[in-house]
């Protein structure tokens, strides 16, 4: 599994728990807000990502928290950059 896949799965598990839906029904490209994730819950997802992947994110990184796919792409690139260093 690529790191982006594992990021997607982590986010889907978290979101499924928050909004109480079947994890398989979650659209990875849908806006988080349309899934029912509000701004505070989006912040929680950021903290989960930080904890899981030992990253330090900034408030400006929230602009990437638009959909599961966009978060996975963004975090994936940050992880790749960290490995490259």
């Amino acid at each position: 599994m690529t790191s982006e896949d594992s990021i997607r799965n982590l986010l889907k598990r978290e979101i499924a728990e928050k909004i109480e839906v079947d994890i398989n029904s979650i659209d990875e490209d849908a806006h988080l807000a349309d899934l029912g994730i509000d701004s505070l819950q989006a912040l929680q997802l950021l903290v989960v990502i930080e904890r899981e992947y030992d990253l330090m994110l900034e408030d400006s990184d929230l602009e990437h928290f638009k959909s599961i796919s966009s978060v996975a792409t963004f975090v994936g690139s940050r992880l790749a950059a960290a490995v490259a260093k």
């Binding site: 509000d38 701004s39 505070l40 912040l43 900034e58 408030d59 929230l62």
Partner: protein
């Protein structure tokens, strides 16, 4: 106001001001500093910020504050909130030139507001819980934690036996406290009120706002395009309020009248403001209606202006909805740009600023303003104080949980 409209003497006026802030304690230090755009922000010293995302905030120079406390209270353990509140209260009473021994104690009321109360006491117990042996935890300290101990300590120090209230509506609490004190005066329940708000710097609040990415790493830039959040701070503002008739009887100089206030709730979300600013708009309109003041007569707005992307945008929208075209002609400034967000003290200190602006015909700037934001297109008095005749000032304060408030002060016609 909430009283007998037929009683021409029911006007409630501000006769004394006391301020404890990161840019100076006492009006004599605070007012010139806020007009000069002095910053009270520095690296935080009172707790270790190395594990946090940000490290800056506002802290009060406490030197000399305990001199305002009587030996009786100093011999007890009192929280920092009580120290700030007692000190500010005594400054305000001295400023008002009122001899409280001539007032029936049960006719003196205290209305206080706070966000975190004596949180430092809880924080210490939490540290012991984590780091110490279980028999070293000083649970006894929690006796001094309940927030109503703050107005109770003030009452003890000044000999008040009237109603005492601690209103905990967070960052709007100062306006609530001042407004309700004015209601009690108008209704004839009390004759003198000490009203305001207080908050010592709280590590829990610092943790919480940081966890929400709502804290700026460097400075507070209200309404600026590149604003990144609040800067936590501490302080206290206390006003002496009386009915105009008794103030005039003893020849007290009057700063301003509390003309009215409005409070409302967004009923939307615990942290995000209502997208169409329902609560803020209702609060401002209620205040104007209650005071029977037209939007066209407002000369200055002290904004809530926290410096977060959301608040400043929504507040600008709300001001424009209430004031329409007039909004562009009213100077709007935020002193949080200088002293940071003093939480429960903020709107009390801002009410003091409005009263001072009315007396001295000068308004403080919004400092750190460099780049306009198209979504925030009002006159924010950028960087330099301005001499302006202020007859009516409006002060906004909004809080978590959707609590919104607006306080109106007006020059008192003698």
């Amino acid at each position: 106001m909430n009283g007998n409209p037929n009683d021409e003497h029911s006007a409630v006026v501000v006769t004394g001001i006391g301020v404890v802030s990161p840019i100076g304690n006492g009006v004599q230090k605070f007012w010139p500093a806020v007009l000069a755009g002095i910053s009270g922000i520095d690296d935080i010293r009172s707790f270790d910020t190395s594990g946090f995302r940000t490290h800056r905030g506002g802290e009060v120079d406490c030197l000399g504050l305990t001199e305002y406390l009587s030996p009786d209270i100093l011999s007890q353990r009192v929280g920092k909130g009580s120290v700030f509140a007692v000190a500010s209260t005594k400054m305000a009473i001295a400023d008002a030139g009122i001899d409280l021994t001539t007032v029936d104690p049960v006719r003196i009321g205290i209305c206080c507001g706070t966000t975190m109360g004596e949180c430092q006491i809880l924080e210490k117990v939490d540290e012991q819980f984590v780091h110490s042996r279980s028999d070293e935890i000083e649970f006894e300290g929690l006796k001094y934690y309940p927030p109503q101990l703050i107005p109770a300590n003030v009452a003890l120090e000044i000999g008040a036996c009237g109603p005492i209230h601690m209103i905990t509506t967070a960052c709007a609490a100062g306006n609530y406290a001042i407004g309700y004190a004015a209601d009690l005066l108008c209704a004839g329940v009390i004759d003198v009120a000490v009203a305001g708000g207080v908050d010592p710097l709280s590590r829990v609040a610092f943790t919480g706002f940081n966890s929400m990415l709502a804290v700026s790493p460097d400075m507070c830039r209200p309404f600026d395009l590149h604003r990144r959040g609040i800067l936590l701070s501490e302080g206290c503002g206390m006003l002496v309020l009386e009915r105009a008739s008794s103030a005039q009887e003893r020849g007290a100089p009057i700063y301003a009248e509390i003309a009215g206030y409005g409070i409302s709730n967004d009923a939307y979300h615990m942290t995000s403001p209502h997208p169409r600013a329902q609560g803020a708009i209702n609060a401002m309109r209620s205040a104007l209606r209650e005071a029977d003041i037209s939007p066209n007569d407002v000369d200055y707005i002290s904004a809530h202006g926290t410096g977060t992307p959301a608040n400043d945008k929504v507040e600008t929208y709300a001001i424009k909805e209430v004031f329409q075209k007039r909004a562009f002609a009213i100077p709007v400034s935020s002193i949080k740009s200088m002293i940071g967000h003093t939480m429960g003290a903020a709107s009390a200190i801002e009410a003091a600023v409005c009263a001072l602006a009315i007396r001295y015909s000068e308004i403080p700037p919004t400092v750190n303003y460099a780049t306009p934001d198209p979504a925030c297109d009002l006159d924010y008095v950028p960087n330099t104080a301005r001499k302006v005749e202020v007859s009516v000032a409006l002060s906004n304060a909004f809080a978590f949980g959707g609590n919104c408030s607006a306080l109106l002060l007006r020059r008192f016609a003698q």
